[in-house]
Amino acid sequence: MQPWVIATSVIFVYLVLSLWLGLVANRRMTINLEDFLLYGRKAGFILLYLTVVATYHSAFAFLGSGGFFYANGIGFWAAGTWTVLVGAITYVIGTRVWALGKAFGYITPADMLADFYESEAVRVSVAVVSVLFTILYIQAQAQGLGYIITVASGGHISYPVGTLILLVVAVSYLMAGGLRAVYWTDALQGVWMYLAVWIGALFLAYKLFGGPLALWHAVETKAPALLSVPGPKGLFTPGMWIGMTVTLSFGVVFQPQMMIRWYTAVDAKTMKLLGATTPIYLMTLYIPTALIGLGGAIVLPHLAVPDQIFPDLLTRYAPAWLAGIILAGATAAAMSTLDSILHANMTVLTRDVYQRYIRPGRSDAHYVWVGRAIVFVLLGAAYGLSMYSSPFLVTLVTLSGSGALQLMPAILGVCFPGKRVLSRAGVVAGLAASMVTLYETLVVHPMLLGIHGGIWGLFVNFAVAVVVSKFTEQPSADTVRRVHGELERFVYGTEE
């Protein structure tokens, strides 16, 4: 049997497993909006852990991080800072978001913010920012999927056909079983991708160098420039290090697919344990990708597309069955993020737009079917985007983490009671000012004064929100008492 047949078959076995999980989830599902969108708020630790880490790590972590180490050297080890920060944010902010979601029945991030700031303008602004900046991730994941299947099949399955097959599989199990199907497949994908990247890296390190330590020694002697910052291309300057740390921690966890997961935890203890332990998975995934990228730079220098280093090494040096298992892991990394973003966008559009403004007061079954229809539309959008690649879109994808980051002032205003409270006008004005700032500092003048655009946007956002809030009406005393009082009781067990 030819190697490409073996590799492709392994990926298809993985796809069949995912579809089977979706079908089983469908049988367990009740026609209930909270069950379809939030897993009935009863996700236990292991399931929640695997879906969070699988959603956080995408095709970028599996393929792109190796490419970053390959091209820019050890500076990408900065990844440890943002993955650890993701855990701390979950521990401190995630538990508060969970508590408020449970107390007041929030389903989307916009639910929480619109309730506290008593404003539909806030709801719409947050929904727009959430969908606009995350839908661009869909394009990146879809392209990654098409690329993986094309490489695994040795070009026998074309990019458009491969992308379509994988998108249809992801959408099928999502439509069938809602968030339950996404969680179950994420659990499978989370385990598969972690084992795949470690096994692949160790296999290549032993086969090509005699082991990880020999690999490090080879890089030290043959390409020492890769082991210093800011790296051979000067990318990882202090400003870039700080910018990536902030945008890829706060900027990712404030995206709807992550915040919605917080609402689904069964209890507060689960949320805290999640925060304390997610960095173990998230950070240690970058240990093998460092070996792949840096070792690859010694074995296969001068690759035109650095992101291809892992698949290229596998197809050259690994047996077909192993390459298939590992590339199925890459597929899992992309699909677990893609399905979560599709689900999050479906939730935001169903809950914050359709249920709120178009057809309020209908049955849960009606909204579940509308959600499925929205997923179908998103499938078309994802496929269309995956066929379209331009520098502008790439720029927009880099915007996505910075975009969600701009929700920080509004979220902190809700989650951290204090002397001052932001107003609805302040939140909307801050968001609007940050969008303009992002365009200026990410697209027009990147790394202005050596500072990442996401940081510039956040700085302007905070300043505008605070100043405008000083002169505009703040949330009512009843709402502040209700929401902040709930947090006071939840965190400190005291009454106001």
């Binding site: 080890w77 650890v84 490090w216 951290f416 002397k419």
Partner: protein, 83 residues
């Protein structure tokens, strides 16, 4: 706990950004200090060197790995202490 200096008409609370327990202070300060060590300028000056290697790995990589593990340790300690 309500803030006695709060403006009238709207309830305000003691800041949730300041820890209120000893364990809370220890966890917060330790995390921030260790995290600062994993950020510039330390990364681009003190830690930016190949040697001495630690367990066969470059100094820069090893030190940061140690700091990341220490940060995870702080989070787990905070969880176990109920912070």
């Amino acid at each position: 706990m309500e803030n006695p200096e709060a403006p009238k008409g709207r309830p305000t609370y003691r800041s949730h950004l300041i820890p209120r327990t000893r364990d809370g202070w220890i966890a917060t300060v330790t995390f921030l200090v260790v995290f600062a060590l994993a950020m510039p300028p330390f990364t681009h000056t003190v830690w930016d060197r190949l040697y001495p290697t630690i367990l066969g790995m470059p100094f820069f990589y090893s030190v940061l790995l140690f700091l990341y593990l220490a940060l995870i340790g702080v989070l787990i300690w905070a969880y176990r202490r109920g912070v």
